[in-house]
Amino acid sequence: MKYTGAQLVVRLLEQQGITTVAGIPGGAALPLYDALAERGSIRHVLARHEQGAGFIAQGMARASGKAAVCIASSGPGATNLVTAIADAKLDSIPLVCITGQVPLSMIGTDAFQEVDTYGISIPVTKHNYLVRNVADLLQVIPEAFRLAESGRPGPVWIDIPKDVQMASIEIDALPEPGRPDTAPCVDMDELRRAAELINAAKTPVLYLGGGIVTAGASAQAVMLAEQAGLPTTMTLMALGTMQSDHPLSLGMLGMHGARFTNYILEESDLLIVLGARFDDRAIGKAEQFCPKAAIVHVDIDAAELGKIKRPHVGIHGDVSQVLDRLLPLIQVQLRKQWLSRVSDLRSRHPLLMPGLENPRSHYGLIDAVASALDPLQADDAIITTDVGQHQMWVAQAYPFSRPRQWLTSGGLGTMGFGMPAALGAAIAEPDRTVICFSGDGSFMMNIQELATMADENANVKIILMNNQSLGMVHQQQDMFYKRRLFAVDYQRRSDFVKIAQGFGIEACDLDTAENPRAMLADALNRRGPCLIHCSIDIEAKVLPIVPPGASNTEMIGG
């Protein structure tokens, strides 16, 4: 068979099971776009900004667990992708990003729309390629998918010069698609030591990270918690891995965790850390985190073991396989004493959610959204957020019930993530309702993707929590910079309802609703895209809060 490089890319994407890609064309990517058009097998979602395309692909990947693809042209197309790719790197999301590049002969000449995409992408990817020969595509494309999905997943960037896309190649058969590597063997000695520590501990806490979602290990993690009687906390990335109303769930730990959660951690004599990386927002001041606890740390990335905290038992492996082997070694324990101490701390230092009964206040709105969803669909719904106060309120208050229900930008904390990621999730999982909680600041960072959402008629509901400000920064200036509020409050009100309507998206305003709960229920349970606007008091705070540089027990408020 004879193919051009571009045709080969399309065939190899098909082989990987790719049915939808997101992107924006341009000069250096035109052969690839022509091959997509000619073949007609892959749906292309035309974003309005490459960052939007990157986050749409992320939404697909986060909702499905499979590598997703975004495409851009050279130069500005490539640089516009960088933020979305860096975001995927920090949250270990499998992506394959393909960009066009100027022809090989022109590389290094400062050609039109030439940037050093290979160089730019090194620090934000798991791996990257500049393809110098059409035959290399046969190896590079499958390998990119293999790497993106193997071990600790991440984004892989393939830069393909235009002449490589146009060159032709004769081959007998397409190569096998790339598949994730098998996980490393689990060290049984370490595993037995872990089991001994867990069985002997008096005040253990289970600490789950995003790796549980990646590994599909939440059922086993919950089983471990139940079998060994382990109160369980989750990182921002792991919310949903244990149902939030589970009696052993302590919710999120760290900077905006509940007081009781951080206090319980402080008393633990053993931390069982599964697929988490001791992020500073989760653990506060590292030296003072869980001072009395021994640590069992399981991670698929060996470099995480000992990076921040030295574990007493470190196990390199796939957490799902590790748990399968660990569970038979774990004694059933009721742990009456520790669990009664836990419930004592919980009732003395609960998470306070002021205004919960008012659907037009921060916590109240989140609660009202969860209750307005048709109960049959509530567990199916996917929740995305942008970054800021609204994100933390949702993390604290939303009743998560399953992994991959919650998609948020954790490591990079990228404003502008929420809406395009919601669109991607809706494309990957068309039967689900996708709810995007956003703030007015974040929403305006990728507001152009409303047009893409209208094109796709995606089942996404945007809950716009409008405080007319960069609320999270406002809060920090208020609390830690003597309330010298600067460059945070927007001077003019934008009419988001009209803006949404201008993009062809239905919109409603809870501010003026006679019955806000009825308006919510109507908007959420009707199919199709919709924006729901609600003003939020700028003085509302995310509490408790661990001040920058403090230890987790030095919380303010809440």
Partner: protein, 107 residues
């Protein structure tokens, strides 16, 4: 991500620490040096000397790095080992001859 804040690295005292030589076997292609040097720069780990030459039929190269021996070194070695184009990472003492022999060119 910030290794400097970690309790492990707090104990670091560069004045007292010696040197080490790292030997990396890598795939030989343009870009692999950027990957390796970028990793050390990004993680604020100083590289004092660097040597790179192709080996065998040229499909692989060997990179020698002269670095400070401190408590972050094992972490840097694991991070380097994660690079796809890095095939192996080995650690030698500062007395390794590779840099010694070069000294006459840097007089």
């Amino acid at each position: 991500m910030n290794m400097r804040d970690s309790n492990i690295n707090r104990k670091l005292n560069p004045e007292q620490s010696g040197k080490a030589v790292l030997e990396l076997t890598v795939r030989n292609h343009p870009g692999v040096m950027s990957h390796v040097c970028g990793l050390f720069a990004r993680r604020a780990f100083n590289v004092e000397g660097i040597l790179c030459m192709p080996v065998g039929d040229g499909a692989q190269s060997r990179i020698w790095l002269l670095v400070r021996e401190d408590e972050r070194l094992p972490q840097m070695m694991s991070q380097a080992g994660k690079l796809e184009d890095v095939l192996s990472v080995a650690r030698h003492g500062a007395d390794h001859r590779v840099f010694e022999k070069l000294e006459e060119f840097f007089g």
